[in-house]
């Protein structure tokens, strides 16, 4: 009741920002504020003054971290602001190095698996969502990884799994033979954690939009270096490309109206109520105008790859769900990107139709097995927002990186630490170009981008070295724990059969967990291996385990889970629900959206 009065009052007064949806009983007097202030990425260590200077739209300075020790492995980062299309640089970035460790093992020096997170967010229609994601997504990812830690990292002592000392199957004993659970490789849990995290982050932004000033939406691309691999999760038109010896190998797909035409049309066809009859799911060639009414027009429906004729009716004059081609394609005639976080309030420019169910937060995850491949010192993962890719294609990117790295050869002790920063800067420079009158022009004389640009250049070899060192150290730790265990609890052997971990005689043998499959990538792919240079997609189709013949899955899974000499039929899968839920409560730091202080993390977020 009071709400009604108040909104009436606001309508009369006018000029006040639209009211947030306030639930009855909520603090009515609260005025909305931003949840996070505008800032540049934490590792740039910018003062307010520098934030201002970096947003100089005339000069568009290319910003690199002044203290490169703030970015792991001396990875490169560079950014530049747009040429004036928005007041602030709406790209955001985040880097985190954290430790995945059980609560029960936190006290043990060297326990836990370190991982590194890089993320880029390209904001639109405001910086709110991008800033929120840069401040929070890593915490959500960490929480999701902790929920499946038992699938990623075996406990140091077998008798001490999880919070309960052991993990039980979710399937009642009698049921197990009818609904057998198959052991799954760690990869699928890591990609699952990333997919869930994107989804949860999007929901969190949706909630916060009602409580705070948080405008717009953003794309998100995350690379997670964990378990000897790199997982790239992408939602939007930012991109990650692995570059090796001047050649590019894409690690993500772009999600735009033209690349996702089929998904959008299918959604429109199956849920026409979402469009309230304002748009059509059909595709036309060319789009008919009033003049063609009653005449034959070329069209295709969602179930067609080919084209056919129909007679143009008034319904055909509605705007198609996807208009335009390529970079200029638009969803509901409004937005040029079809996946991302935020945008809960976004409606189409014409007809005021909600865009959200079409614009999805679903991440596509791909992985590259760094451990299993020969990695050169110049092999990098380049992550960039679309400002980079609009001008510089994958091939040119790989070429520029290779050239930049030769400017700072590894022999140059003093300066080689700048090589990746320099490469990132050169990439931004190439896409931004130089000012020519009122325009920006690249060195090839083509138009430079007027968009914000952000780039990471991450050396893969550095992670590989770090990973191998960790593995050795962890193996030693396990050996010492195992000998402790054998001497103190000789009667524990029986328990190993109820354990889901590889029932290897040698408890310290990590091969079942982090297999070195030289050239082979452990996934649930039917052929078991993948061509060396093709990233493995761990997206839905391959993970839909129930659709695949069980025998093949279990074979694959064994290959991943257990060393050859292991009697893997003894490996019993254990649940995640019952066994893990308590672990979550006890071991996840309460850092969700409140702060970034996690005692287990080397936090790069110090501002």
């Amino acid at each position: 009741m009071f709400n009604k009065v108040r909104s009436a009052l606001y309508n009369v007064v006018g000029g006040v920002e639209a009211l947030p949806a306030v639930a009855e009983g909520e603090d009515q007097s609260r005025l909305r504020v931003p949840k996070f202030p505008y800032a540049r990425p934490h590792f740039l260590l910018f003062q307010q003054d520098e934030v201002q200077v970096s947003a100089d739209h005339q000069i568009r300075p290319i910003i690199v971290p002044r203290d490169i020790t703030k970015v792991p492995w001396q990875s490169g980062y560079a950014e530049t602001v747009n040429a004036g299309k928005s007041e602030w640089n709406e790209d955001q970035a985040c880097v985190q190095q954290r430790l995945l460790v059980r609560e029960s093992e936190k006290h043990i020096p060297g326990a836990g698996m370190p991982y590194t997170y890089f993320a880029l967010f390209d904001g639109h229609a405001g910086y709110g969502a991008a800033v929120a994601a840069a401040n929070q997504l890593h915490n959500v990812v960490h929480k999701k990884l902790m929920e499946v830690i038992d699938h990623i990292l075996p406990p140091l002592e077998l008798g001490n799994t999880g919070a309960h000392g052991h993990i039980e199957s979710s399937t009642p004993r009698g049921m197990a033979m009818w609904y057998p659970e198959k052991p799954l490789p760690a990869d699928v849990f890591i990609s699952g954690a990333l997919e869930l995290a994107f989804n949860e982050m999007d929901a969190l932004i949706g909630e916060d939009k009602r409580k705070y000033i948080m405008k717009g939406g953003c794309t998100a691309v995350v690379s997670l270096f964990i378990a000897g691999k790199v997982f790239v999760a992408n939602a939007g038109d930012s991109r990650a490309v692995r570059c090796s010896l001047s050649k590019p190998y894409p690690m993500s797909n772009d999600f735009t109206p033209s690349t996702e035409r089929r998904r959008l049309q299918q959604l429109a066809a199956h849920k026409p109520e979402l469009l309230s009859n304002n748009f059509t799911h059909l595709e036309y060639n060319p789009r008919p105008g009033r003049a063609l009414m009653g005449r034959k027009i070329l069209y295709r429906d969602v179930f067609m790859t080919g084209w056919a004729y129909k007679i143009c009716s008034p319904e055909d004059l509605r705007t198609p769900v996807v208009t335009g081609e390529g970079k200029r394609s638009r969803l509901l005639a409004t937005i040029g990107v079809t996946r991302g976080l935020g945008d809960h309030e976004l409606r189409s420019i014409i007809h005021n139709t909600p865009i959200k169910p079409f614009l999805s937060s679903q991440a596509e995850v791909k992985l590259y097995n760094i451990e299993a491949h020969n990695i050169h010192d110049t092999d990098v993962l380049v992550m960039g927002t679309d400002g980079l890719w609009d001008v510089t294609n994958n091939e040119k990117t790989a070429e520029i990186v290779q050239n930049s790295l030769t400017n700072f050869p590894f022999g140059d002790q003093e300066n080689s630490k700048y090589r990746f920063t320099s490469a990132a800067q050169d990439l931004v420079m190439h896409s931004r170009g130089k000012p020519e009158g009122h325009n920006w022009q690249t060195s090839d004389g083509a138009p430079g981008t007027i968009d914000d640009i952000s780039v990471f250049v991450i050396p893969l070899a550095a992670y590989k070295r770090e990973w191998e060192a960790w593995k050795q150290q962890n193996e030693k730790l396990r050996q010492s724990k195992a000998s402790d265990q054998i001497s103190s609890k000789s009667a524990q052997t029986a328990q190993s059969s109820t354990n889901r971990y590889p029932a290897s005689a040698n408890l310290s043998n990590m091969d079942g967990w982090f297999p070195s499959l030289d050239g082979k990538t452990p996934t649930t792919h039917q052929n078991g291996g993948t061509p060396a240079n093709v990233p493995v997609e761990v997206g839905v189709p391959h993970l839909n385990v129930s659709d695949l013949p069980l025998a093949e899955i279990s074979l694959e899974a064994e290959e991943v889970m257990a060393p050859e000499d292991t009697p893997s039929r003894n490996v019993e899968t254990i649940d995640s629900e019952e066994g893990l839920t308590p672990t979550i409560g006890s071991s996840i730091p309460e850092n969700g959206d409140k702060d970034n202080t996690d005692p287990s993390s080397t936090n790069y977020c110090e501002r």
Partner: protein, 212 residues
């Protein structure tokens, strides 16, 4: 803090001549003997007073390495002052001045005030470039000249402030168009003639508002 004017500076010169150290000495009054290579561009700012007016200096410190030259060039635009620095203990940094000057003249606005700086004057025993040579070069090309030491802070204040004085004089003479930000000069928010409502005298103007 409010200012009457903001002047944008750029510091240029070969790698290792002490550009970043000069900036650090001027903004933070400290010397860092081992300084990381500047890769892109760094910013510093300090308030000074000239003729009783608060002037904010916004200083862009650039990378000296040849590899970054094309990137550095894009920062000349929109600078009101440039500090062109060489190292008095390394002759080649003096020899490269002509190239730097050509670059600066070509990519900056023609009114940019350039101060030539021979840095590391504390290292007298290792001097390779005589002070007279610096003076002669400056005279020949119409630059202001000073020898400085970022380490002892000798002449560092003066170098930045004298450049500002020169720019300030040019403003008084009407040489700089202060309404064009591309000249590297910004009129402070409280002094902007185009923004009478923010003028400190705004309240005295009455309801009719001011006219400029």
């Amino acid at each position: 803090m409010s200012y009457a004017y903001l002047f944008k500076y750029i510091i240029i010169g070969d790698t290792g001549v002490g550009k970043s150290c000069l900036l650090l000495q001027f903004t933070d009054k400290r010397f860092q003997p081992v300084h990381d290579l500047t890769i892109g561009v760094e910013f510093g700012a300090r308030m000074i007073t000239i003729d009783g007016k608060q002037i904010k200096l916004q200083i862009w410190d650039t990378a000296g390495q040849e590899a970054f030259r094309s990137i550095t060039r894009s920062y000349y635009r929109g600078a009101a002052g440039a500090l062109l620095v060489y190292d008095i203990t390394r002759r080649e940094t003096f020899n490269h001045l002509t190239t730097w000057l050509e670059d600066a003249r070509q990519h900056s606005n023609s009114n940019m005030v350039i101060m030539l700086i021979g840095n590391k004057s504390d290292l007298e025993s290792r001097r390779e470039v005589k002070k007279e040579e610096g003076e002669a070069f400056a005279h020949e090309h119409g630059l202001i000249f000073m020898e400085t030491s970022a380490k002892t802070a000798a002449n560092v204040e003066e170098a930045f402030i004298n450049t500002a004085k020169e720019i300030y004089e040019k403003i008084q003479e009407g040489v700089f168009d202060i309404n064009n930000e591309a000249n590297g000069i910004k009129v402070g928010p409280q002094h902007s003639p185009t923004n009478p409502s923010l003028s400190p005298n705004g309240q005295d103007r009455g309801q009719g508002g001011g006219c400029c």
